[in-house]
């Protein structure tokens, strides 16, 4: 029994099947990526219903315009994450702008700050999900379980030095969430990891 295809091959085939108009491919795409897309949208928007809508829009976009994804430019997964981030941020900006226009509290600068924060938070989520598992495990222990780096090393069965390296590298990757240009930047921003 064959294991999963290597990502580039799977991505390329998926793109071709979508372009061919194969409904079964759309279902498979959804099954593989819906929780990623929905989770990122929810991180930006903080609202279940809005996240549902963005999820719908992301898959509708891919289905209607499969050619906008080019497998040579990178993995489908990060392309979808970037697309999700863009659509979610657009939606957040639209609803917040409307609220402001209706006389809601805050200023345009507050709005921009909020949008930027939400976008960076979603990118950070994606980076954590996509980083190599050993780095994620080290961060999980040190941050969420409050283990120091020596305990982390013992838990993971690695040297102290290796634990220090993983924590530093993990945070370095995570820090790139701040780098990716303006919120709503075109696809590519999710591919940091």
């Amino acid at each position: 029994m064959r294991k999963k295809d290597a990502p580039p091959r799977w991505d390329r085939k998926m793109q071709q099947r979508l372009a061919r108009g194969e409904a079964a491919a759309l279902g498979e795409l959804y099954d593989r990526f819906a929780s990623l897309v929905h989770g990122l949208a929810h991180r930006v928007l903080g609202d279940e219903h809005a996240a549902d809508t963005v999820t719908r829009d992301v898959f509708a976009h891919v289905w209607q315009h499969p050619d906008t994804y080019d497998p040579r430019q990178g993995p489908l997964r990060s392309w979808l994450a970037a697309l999700t981030n863009r659509l979610a941020v657009e939606r957040l900006r639209t609803t917040e702008t409307a609220a402001l226009a209706r006389g809601g509290p805050g200023t345009t600068e507050d709005l921009e700050r909020k949008v930027r924060h939400a976008s960076v938070a979603a990118r950070a989520d994606y980076i954590v999900q996509s980083m190599p598992a050993p780095l994620r495990a080290a961060l999980e222990l040190a941050y969420f379980q409050r283990r120091d780096y020596r305990q982390t090393a013992a838990d993971l069965g690695v040297t102290d030095e290796e634990a220090r390296r993983r924590l530093r590298l993990g945070l370095q990757l995570l820090a790139t969430a701040h780098d990716a240009g303006a919120p709503g930047a075109p696809p590519g921003i999710g591919g940091a990891a």
Partner: protein, 392 residues
């Protein structure tokens, strides 16, 4: 760097030192390696002090420290939001409306598509405890309740091996591989697979099961129009491909419910239109099963008057309530007879999901019907026949 003494800001904080004030030495390498742990407050107090002292004099490290501290603020607990199955249906429907597919998933495979996706979503967050939770498979055999103990992973293996009957009929790879069951029946295939494995099934069975279900949906999408007369052999009987896919959707739901019960998760019945199709399949199978049971003396013999093929015959009205419900007239005396309202001798009413549980052997036939009136023998025969549709 000139010879002047310490400036006013040198001891103040991480950002005051220029990058080139101190040549990096061995000390610098060690302290630099501690920056991640320091940012996470995960080093010993003495180490933290040493790092902070170093940050006052080393610009590059100070920059990195600041950057990593900010990154710590981005760590958030992953939100574990369960995706509602209805969202999948809604999203896919919207997509297919906006751009009609050139190769659609056939209507008769839609229930299988939906049910396998629902089960896969249930399995999503299972840990080892859940995968190895005990499950009892239940069915009726010779009008007696039977059962077989396995685990959640064992149930998925069971679904995969029986779905494999459809795969084989479509010319796809058999998940049993080299394993040869005694007879090509669902239970023999399952037992053979379980026996052949060196270890009891684990979570690793999920991938192959899911890949096969995706492959089935894809294959029937391509060959859909040519498969009208294709049948899937189940060993003791055969079903047309369309019905076999519906049968597999039904089994998938029934076992998903077994799994959900074993791990104490909630699990809803299928969407109304899929439930309706499942009831319809069972209702269509009932006359054949009734006849077979008569041959084995398990059901009351036919009344004297013979019914010509295609003619209306004595019928039981099966009324299914709730979402996916409807009415079916089950001809009682011969599969060839036509169900007829004029010849109705009995009426049974029950909820759709309850009827399916009866047909799955999960509800004793004597306790199944909420409302019954008319010929008691006919009702008994039909309820037992429904339970006998179940198998492992």
């Amino acid at each position: 760097m000139s010879g002047h003494g310490p400036g006013p800001y040198d001891d103040r904080g991480p950002l005051t030192a220029g990058p080139d004030e101190l040549p990096p030495g061995p000390e610098h390498q060690v302290l630099k390696s501690l920056l991640g742990a320091w940012a996470l407050a995960a080093c010993a107090p003495a180490e933290a002090d040493a790092v902070e002292e170093h940050l006052g004099v080393c610009g590059p490290c100070a920059d990195e420290a600041l950057r990593l501290r900010e990154a710590v603020g981005l760590l958030q607990r992953p939100e574990s939001l369960d995706l509602k199955p209805a969202l999948r249906t809604r999203v896919l429907e919207t997509c297919l409306e906006r751009r009609p597919p050139r190769i659609p998933v056939p209507d008769w495979a839609a229930a299988y598509d939906a049910e396998t996706a629902r089960l896969d979503a249930l399995l999503q967050d299972f840990g080892d405890n859940e995968w190895h939770a005990p499950v009892r498979l239940r069915w009726y055999e010779g009008d007696e309740a039977s059962s077989r103990r396995t685990t959640v992973a064992g149930v998925i293996a069971h679904l995969m091996t029986v779905d494999g009957l459809v795969a084989v009929a479509l010319g796809l790879e058999d998940p049993l591989g080299e394993v040869r069951p005694e007879r090509p029946t669902p239970s023999d295939r399952t037992e053979a697979y379980w026996r052949a494995a060196r270890f009891p099934p684990t979570r690793s069975v999920r991938g192959p099961w899911r890949e096969q279900s995706h492959r089935l949906i894809r294959t029937v999408s391509f060959t859909g129009s040519d498969t009208g007369r294709m049948t899937v052999p189940y060993g003791d009987f055969a079903l047309p491909l369309h019905d076999a896919m519906l049968d597999r959707a039904f089994e998938c739901w029934v076992h998903a419910e077994d799994i959900a019960e074993a791990v104490d998760y909630p699990y809803d019945p299928p969407a109304g239109r899929h439930l309706h199709e499942m009831v319809d399949l069972a209702a269509r199978l009932l006359p054949v099963v009734l006849e077979a049971r008569r041959h084995h003396g398990l059901a009351a013999p036919v009344e004297r008057r013979l019914v010509a093929a295609g003619e209306p015959g004595r019928s039981l009205r099966l009324e299914i309530e709730g979402s996916g419900g409807g009415e079916w007239l089950i001809p009682l005396d011969s599969p060839a007879a036509k169900g007829s309202a004029e010849h109705e001798v009995a009426h049974v009413a029950l909820d759709g999901a309850e009827f399916c549980r009866l047909a799955a052997g999960h509800v004793p036939p004597r306790e199944a019907a909420a409302g019954q009136e008319g010929d008691r023998e006919a009702i008994r025969d039909v309820l037992f026949a429904a339970a006998s549709l179940s198998r492992m």
